[in-house]
């Protein structure tokens, strides 16, 4: 039984099958993401009511919070698919992991910069050593390390395996880092900063937030598949089906 399931998975995850299937999925993801992001932006920018404490500046959270969620989600995806690749030797998992890294780094960057832009009117400074921003910054370092390691190792298969190990080590450490930064922050700053993060959010603000979050997820899905397709073409370049596609 187990063998049959594994066989199915291997077949499903075969590069050729993946290439065909992902080609069909991407347009759906892309269009849905575009619709959701546009709707979420309009809702977030113009329709959601003004926050009585922060005025209109809070509208940045519709970018900031989903981007921060995505940054952590994508790192998780990288670690899990890295583990899958190491344990079951599924090549596609490696491709997904390494295709995810730049997208995750971009979201982390976005979360950091929007957090800082939001911080300027709120805290009066571009940068505050707030626990979330600091954790996000460390996450960015983890992403940069991952990408640097990947580009430093010449052999693509060795690079993928080394990066998988790094991602797993990183993902085990993230909760520890997060906890220590939070603890450090409460010691030094008190709870002055976090008031923005945990207000019981009103439904009219929640809707655009969820729209944006879902849009970001679908956007990630579309882009990661696009990048993975490109990688598959390169790694499988000696196979006949690639030659047939390229002609």
């Amino acid at each position: 039984m187990m063998k049959a399931i594994m066989k199915f998975i291997y077949q499903f995850a075969s590069p050729k099958h993946f290439y065909r299937l992902s080609g069909k999925i991407i347009p759906w993801f892309a269009w849905l993401a575009a619709i959701l992001l546009i709707a979420g932006s309009i809702d977030g920018l113009f329709i959601a009511p003004v926050d009585y404490q922060q005025g209109d500046s809070y509208r940045i959270i519709f970018i900031h919070v989903p981007a921060a969620w995505m940054s952590m989600f994508i790192y998780m995806v990288m670690a899990i698919s890295g583990a899958i690749a190491l344990i079951w030797k599924i090549k596609l998992a490696d491709v997904i992991a390494s295709s995810s890294a730049p997208i995750g780094a971009a979201f982390t960057f976005l979360a950091l910069v929007t957090g800082s832009i939001w911080g300027k009117p709120m805290w009066g400074a571009w940068w505050v050593w707030d626990a979330r921003l600091t954790s996000e910054l460390i996450l960015l370092f983890l992403y940069l390390g991952y990408m640097a390691l990947e580009s430093a190792i010449e052999d693509p298969r060795a690079a993928a395996r080394a990066c998988a190990i790094l991602a797993i080590v990183g993902v085990i450490n993230i909760p520890i880092i997060h906890y220590s930064v939070e603890w450090w922050n409460t010691l030094h700053q008190g709870a002055t900063v976090t008031k923005l993060d945990k207000p019981s959010i009103h439904i009219s603000m929640l809707i655009p937030l969820l729209l944006m979050a879902l849009g970001f997820k679908l956007y990630y899905g579309a882009v990661v598949l696009m990048r993975a397709r490109n990688k598959v073409l390169v790694t499988e370049q000696n196979n006949r089906w690639v030659k047939e596609i390229i002609g």
């Binding site: 113009f46 500046s57 981007a67 910069v113």
Partner: protein, 60 residues
């Protein structure tokens, strides 16, 4: 109408955030399309080279 875009006194912050998101995400989404073109070009050149050298071998 203009008030709506000014967002109180926070217009610059909000719009720059959204603008930046658009630029970054747009670039990330657009890059694979460019890559794909480059890969197709490179691989098709490689295959042409290979088939050429194969033909030569057959002729010889």
């Amino acid at each position: 109408m203009m008030e709506m875009f000014q967002m109180g006194k926070y217009g610059a912050y909000v719009w720059s955030s959204y603008g930046l998101a658009l630029i970054v995400m747009g670039y990330v989404a657009f890059k694979p399309l460019l890559d794909k073109k480059a890969i197709f070009k490179e691989l098709s050149m490689k295959y042409r080279r290979e088939s050429q050298s194969n033909n030569k071998q057959e002729q010889a």
